[in-house]
């Protein structure tokens, strides 16, 4: 019996189909909607489209929308920095400790990922409600921002810890020894050996935290008393009634994400550790 032989080309067909239908066509649809306006014929109910830059102009002439973009960026940035500052020492200590049970400790940090996201955010909200002893303080907008960022850090922390942990784990112990041997103090060893060598982990942690925290409006909705609007919320709302504007916002976000990835060097495919060992 002759087994059917699949060439690499034939095996690739399903993926190509998938890419065309679920990535390329939807993208084109978004671009199409973003640069058109639709007029509904009141009699037939059919919609006719006309090419237009009006969505683009509307977006960039609306200060609320622009400030939302900036707010989203700032929230994402603060969240990422907080995650990094918390995660790095944890990952560093765990990766370098000789504890036999360090895997268990790592699991405890990662465990929240396995509990439903909405449940976690709800629980956090309840805790904040319990703690809201000063209602005057609560009404401040900054409190909402604080709670939003707190929630995001809580949610995304594991995504920062894991890549950092795996990268630091992989650093050869003898490199620390070599640094000390050459006269490097603990600080020199950290800044000149550990930190540069854990850069791939930092980069992938940053991309895994920064991008979702720009769009994850569930957290901002639930914890920010709906007073904190981030760009993801916009897209959600526009797709209720105005697909054209929604597409435009999505497209702007895409460009922002692309630019930030590009600036952080995320497209350098080599030695970028995005996966984890867990």
């Amino acid at each position: 019996m002759k087994l059917p032989r699949f060439s690499r080309k034939t095996l690739g067909i399903p993926y190509a189909v998938f890419l065309v239908f679920f990535v390329i066509i939807p993208m084109l649809v978004i671009v199409f909607y973003a640069f058109t306006t639709g007029v509904k014929d009141p009699e037939t109910g059919a919609e006719s489209f006309s090419f237009s830059f009006s969505n683009f102009l509307r977006f960039f002439s609306d200060p609320t929308k622009l400030s939302t973009i900036v707010y989203s960026l700032v929230i994402a940035l603060v969240t990422t920095v907080c995650c990094l500052l918390i995660a790095y020492p944890v990952a560093y200590i765990l990766a370098r400790s000789r504890l036999k049970k360090k895997f268990v400790i790592l699991m405890l940090f990662v465990l929240p990922m396995w509990i439903n996201f909405v449940l976690r955010v709800n629980a956090l909200r309840e805790i904040f409600n319990l703690l809201s002893l000063a209602p005057a303080l609560e009404s401040l907008t900054s409190a909402n921002y604080f709670k939003t960022i707190f929630g995001m850090v809580y949610d995304f922390l594991p995504f920062m810890i894991l890549p950092l942990y795996t990268t630091i784990m992989k650093i050869d112990q003898s490199l620390y020894e070599a640094s000390a041997d050459l006269g490097g103090s603990a600080l020199v060893t950290f800044t000149r050996v550990t930190l540069p060598l854990s850069m791939p982990g930092i980069m992938s942690g940053v991309t895994m935290v920064f991008l979702p925290s720009m769009t994850n409006y569930v957290v901002s909705d639930m914890l920010g008393n709906a007073k904190v609007t981030i760009i993801g919320k916009f897209i959600y709302e526009y797709f209720g009634n105005d697909w054209h504007m929604g597409s435009m916002v999505a497209l702007v976000l895409l460009v922002v994400v692309f630019l930030s990835s590009w600036l952080s060097g995320g497209f350098k495919a080599d030695e970028n550790v995005r996966g984890t060992n867990l």
Binding site: L175, E177, A178, S179, A180, D181, G183, G184
Partner: protein
């Protein structure tokens, strides 16, 4: 005598509960090329790491130029290391790797101000100083022009050179090399050996070198420290160690050896292989000794002229010489010669007196601390053995209730009594049936002694060693059980009080 640059005093190191370095003391002279030589796991790398500061001794002192540095961190010690797997920084290029140590360094510079007063400042090295030093270091290791190369583009040999340059650029008082040539192929190794020796000569600093390759140690060193089981076996010049090994371990580990059990029969007369030979070593008459004869010290001659007569078993061509195994009676003797013989040839062998080396046997019997248990058995070395307890009290016997009745009719309960257990080397046998004997262990050493093998079996828990002689061939690391016949276990009371 040259100045002692580094001295170890009673250094002991435990990793958790494992003793890896057992009370080691020695010193290194300034400018010397010294090698720690030994099989893997003998503690040579740990000793080096303690000198570098990566591991701290559990007890004892390490003196550097007379100053105790035992507890100093590595970055505060004037030594640099060439690591086993180089440990080059992968994110830095060749220049930055070599400059790493220089950038950490601060030097005291003296200046003069307008008023002519002198003052000093601790400063980092200037850019030019650094690049000059790096350039010089690269010249020494023959890698001019490699500054900008990234580490991953270098071959093993080139990485090795960068690692050496990175260490010597700091002008350390002592350069530590941890099996630096282990990852290179044979030809490259030979070249690097010569080059390292040349670098040592040019720099004039002390080199401490770790290797398990005896040939490398003999080629390169001024002094060799032979280590085994965390203990220094012998310290000496390569020639001294080769010609006069201190014990059978050294003789077996360094070069090829024929090792026999012999007996001194007169003034500088030793008997082994059934014949008497003249030798140079002075031992007491009737003393049992180990005899070491190097294969190249055995001369082949016509059968009637030889002291030993035998038949050629095998001939192997080794490039410069032939290795010929000769069967003499029940002994197998290895001879090296530039002349060949045919298998089956009858030949004679002679040895000049200076080719015979006598040494005190390391083991003449096995001695353990034991405790008598309930049923008149003795417990030692992780096991329980049947024994004859009546030997502790002359004329005694055991009654029906398993009590010992002495000659005077006194009843003694021996349970828990501590005894010294002695077992002769030839009274211990081993079996691969784990249930067959009183205790079990792994074979940790095998030395061929002409007509039998000398094995050491180490038990797992207490790490007690059984030394035994056997005709059978075993493999190192074999898991065996130790069998001792009841009547071969010699007991003596440890506590004289108990005897009364």
């Amino acid at each position: 005598m040259a100045e002692k640059i580094i001295e170890l005093k009673n250094v002991t190191k435990y990793f958790d509960d494992n003793l890896v370095i057992d009370n080691v003391s020695f010193y290194v002279k300034k400018g010397e090329f010294i090698t720690f030589l030994g099989p893997s796991g003998c503690g040579k790398t740990t000793t080096l790491r303690m000198i570098a500061g990566f591991d701290l001794p559990t007890s004892g002192q390490i003196l550097l130029g007379g100053k105790d540095v035992s507890q100093l961190p590595p970055n505060k010690r004037p030594v640099n290391t060439v690591f086993q797997r180089y440990a080059l920084f992968p994110h830095l290029n060749v220049f930055e790797n070599i400059a790493f140590g220089l950038r950490c360094k601060k030097v005291v510079n003296t200046y003069e101000n307008d008023k002519g007063e002198k003052y000093t400042r601790r400063e980092k090295l200037s850019k030019k100083e650094i690049s000059d030093k790096v350039k010089k270091a690269l010249e020494i290791v023959d890698l001019e022009g490699f500054e900008k190369r990234s580490i991953s583009t270098l071959s093993g040999g080139q990485q090795q050179r960068v690692a050496i340059a990175r260490a010597i650029v700091n002008e350390p008082e002592i350069l530590l090399l941890d099996e630096p040539l282990g990852a290179l192929d044979l030809k490259m190794r030979k070249e690097m050996q010569i080059e390292l020796k040349e670098i040592h000569r040019r720099l004039g600093i002390t080199f401490i070198y770790v290797t398990h390759d005896q040939e490398e140690a003999l080629t390169m060193s001024d002094t060799i420290v032979v280590m085994a089981d965390g203990v220094v076996q012998q310290i000496g010049t390569p020639k001294g160690i080769y010609d006069e090994p201190a014990n059978t371990f050294v003789a077996d580990f360094i070069g090829e050896s024929n090792i026999f059990s012999g007996k001194v029969v007169g003034d500088k007369q030793v008997k082994f292989c059934g014949k008497t030979f003249a030798c140079l070593d002075d031992f007491g008459v009737n003393e049992i000794v180990d005899v070491v004869v190097r294969p190249e010290d055995l001369k082949m001659c016509a059968p009637e002229e030889g002291v030993l007569k035998g038949e050629v078993l095998s001939v192997v061509f080794k490039g410069i010489h032939y290795e010929i195994t000769v069967k003499v009676g029940k002994y197998e003797i290895v001879v090296q010669s530039t002349e060949s013989r045919e298998i089956g040839d009858k030949i004679g062998l002679t040895v000049a007196p200076d080719g015979i080396h006598l040494m005190k046997p390391r083991y003449t019997s096995n001695i353990f601390d034991g405790v008598i248990t309930k049923h008149n058995t003795v417990e030692f070395a992780d096991g329980e053995f049947e024994c004859d307890v009546t030997q502790l009290y002359p004329g005694s016997h055991i009654d029906d209730e398993e009590y010992l009745i002495t000659a005077s009719g006194e009843k003694i309960d021996l349970t828990g009594v501590e005894v010294k257990v002695e077992v002769g080397l030839s009274d211990v046998t081993i079996s691969d049936d784990a249930e067959a004997g009183g205790t079990t262990g792994h074979i940790i050493s095998i030395i061929y002694k002409g007509d039998h093998y000398r094995l050491i079996v180490r038990t797992e828990e207490e790490e007690e060693d059984f030394v035994l002689s056997t005709d059978d061939l075993w493999n190192e690391n074999d898991y065996v059980s130790v069998i001792i016949p009841k009547d071969k276990i010699k007991l003596t009371l440890k506590n004289a009080e108990a005897k009364k």
